[in-house]
């Protein structure tokens, strides 16, 4: 005699077949268009495309401001879009006479990228906005469409602010960077590849610090007996000589 199927199984079976049946039926009845992924994305696309367009794009700027565009194209800001500094300009492009884009004539904008921050890459032009020509708008000296890196030696601080600050309170404060470092002009363009020189001999420091050297105030040592196997900067930090390594 065949075993009787338990009642529970029959009832659950009915429920499960209703669920599966209705799912299958729904899927079968749904027109294929409703199962298309593009269909499901449509409302998102509509919502996105319905948003107002804010940016005009660099090409639109070039149509009228070709001189600025050409100038920027070869300069250090070549990878920046016009609207990075001038803000969204779609309205200006549509109505150039009455609507004018933002023009950064204040000091606020440039430090967004150029304020000193130790985590920025070495060589990236950086300043301390508090002490770098205070209150002057950046555009007085720098042309943002073709910015030129600062000149040596006054502006080593642009990149090496930490060293310059240290040196400023040291006994070497009045010694210019270029007294000890020869800085090739290309160092400012490719700072990691073309590097400045460092003093490599004891005699270099000896020009001021050897016995009988002409600089009166500088501490004097006998080069022939004073740790003769070492170069000076192995023990003395030249940017803050009072501190010994």
């Amino acid at each position: 005699m065949p075993k009787k199927v338990p009642e529970q199984i029959i009832r659950l079976g009915i429920v499960i077949s209703i669920i599966f049946g209705s799912v299958a039926l729904t899927l079968y009845l749904l027109p294929p268009a409703l199962k298309d992924k593009p269909f499901h994305r449509r409302s998102t696309i509509l919502a996105e495309t319905a948003k107002p367009i804010q940016f005009a794009g660099s090409n639109a700027c070039a149509d009228c401001h070709d001189d600025k565009y050409q100038q920027k194209k070869t300069g250090y800001h070549r990878n920046l879009s016009c609207e990075t500094c001038h803000g969204p300009a779609a309205e200006h492009a549509a109505d150039p006479i009455t609507i004018k884009p933002f023009v950064a004539r204040e000091r606020r904008g440039c430090p967004t990228c150029h304020e000193y921050d130790p985590s920025r890459p070495t060589g990236f032009p950086q300043i301390n906005p508090t002490i770098h020509n205070p209150l002057q708008p950046c555009v007085t000296c720098h042309n943002p469409h073709d910015p030129v890196p600062p000149r040596t030696p006054e502006e080593c601080a642009a990149c090496h602010a930490g060293i310059v600050r240290t040196k400023a309170i040291s006994s070497h404060a009045l010694v210019a960077c270029t007294t000890c470092h020869t800085v090739p002009e290309k160092h400012k363009i490719t700072p990691r590849i073309i590097r400045p020189t460092k003093p490599e001999t004891r005699d270099f420091c000896g020009k001021c610090h050897a016995k009988g050297a002409p600089v009166v105030d500088a501490p004097k040592i006998d080069l022939s007996t004073h740790w003769e196997k070492y170069v000076c900067w192995q023990c003395h930090y030249p940017h803050l000589p009072a501190e010994r390594l």
Binding site: P6, E7, Q8, R11, L12, I14, V15, I19, L27, L30, L34, K35, K37, H40, S43, G87, P88, D117, S119, R120
Partner: protein, 400 residues
Amino acid sequence: MNQELTEKLTDLLSQVTGYIYPNEIEIHWSILIVVYPYVTGVVAGAFILASLVKVFNVEEVRPTYRLSLLTALSFLLVAPLPLNLHLGHPERAYEIFLTPNLRSAMAMFGFVYAWYLMGVLLLEIWFEYRGDLVVWSREKQFPMKWIYRLLSLFSNDISKRALEFDHKAAKAITIIGIPSAFLLHGYVGFIFGSVKANPWWSSVLMPIVFLMSAIVSGIALIIFLYMVITPIRGETIDMRCLDRLASFLFYAVIVDFSLEALDFVHRLYESEESVKILATLINQKLFMSLLIIQVLLGMIIPSAMLVAGRAWRLSEELRKLLYFTACILIQVGIFSTRWNVVIGGQLFSKSLRGLTTYKMEVIGSEGLMMALALLVLPFVILTILVKLIPPWKEASRQTS
């Protein structure tokens, strides 16, 4: 730029330290995504506790068996809500079933969830309650009579053989349910563990750590509920059951703690390039939530309490007090664990050189209020379920 967004970002910018990329200032996975693994964790934990009775025949904890199942169900019903609220457009949620994407772990959630809800939990609860439902449907008046009839799927057979079959079926489903519960919560850990670009998340241990902490939170919640509900019903707490639950909880906490410590030591020993920023993250941003709340308050102190209760043979009242406090601390600790994973993983820059901060909304679809509402909702559902199908055996015995 959008004025509101600008103001929000300006507030955040002052909190940023070091170098971070522009799209990392604002955190995108908010507190709702913290609530989601917490809630699913409770589901998996409660179910695994229930399986102790059915599969492993741990008779002492039988008083909590049905309560565990109902707790798992009420939390499971809430589990997808944080995701729906976070993603927006809940009316489109069914589309993941219509256009299944087998290669996306996130898109498979719908199927994992549906399987666990329909294939495991509801079935097990139905088999467990069917006999009682039939009895209740015969005794109650309209309209409850019809509700019970509907819930029992108009079943009528309460012969000894039929009830035995129910028992066997529930056991079989529990056996399938254990790997399914592992799948459900292991899946949540997998989602985080497989984000290879994020060194705080990317770890093969993540699913298993999630699973163990899920078991911890599930057991702790059941102890809490059992200790609250039993006195309300005017019954006495079964200390054998409570002691057994507490020892299971202790073992789970120990395993969870060891796994997390292993993960930590492993990262420290590997010392990948991310180790410095992760150390800063722990020391600065997560000091309170990770070291104080998660480790100290959420693990070390409660496990000391659980041990103290047993080791010094304290009086029943004192043991209850210790267990109760430990359970609350563990809940806070596990919530903090989820917080540290979800929010912590977004606080540092992919440049590994800077940290941002999380500014939580209070009101709004992803705010604190919504998170609290979602954490209260399972208890509301549980209250309704407990009223509708009381989990204590006595109720059915009285009626039958």
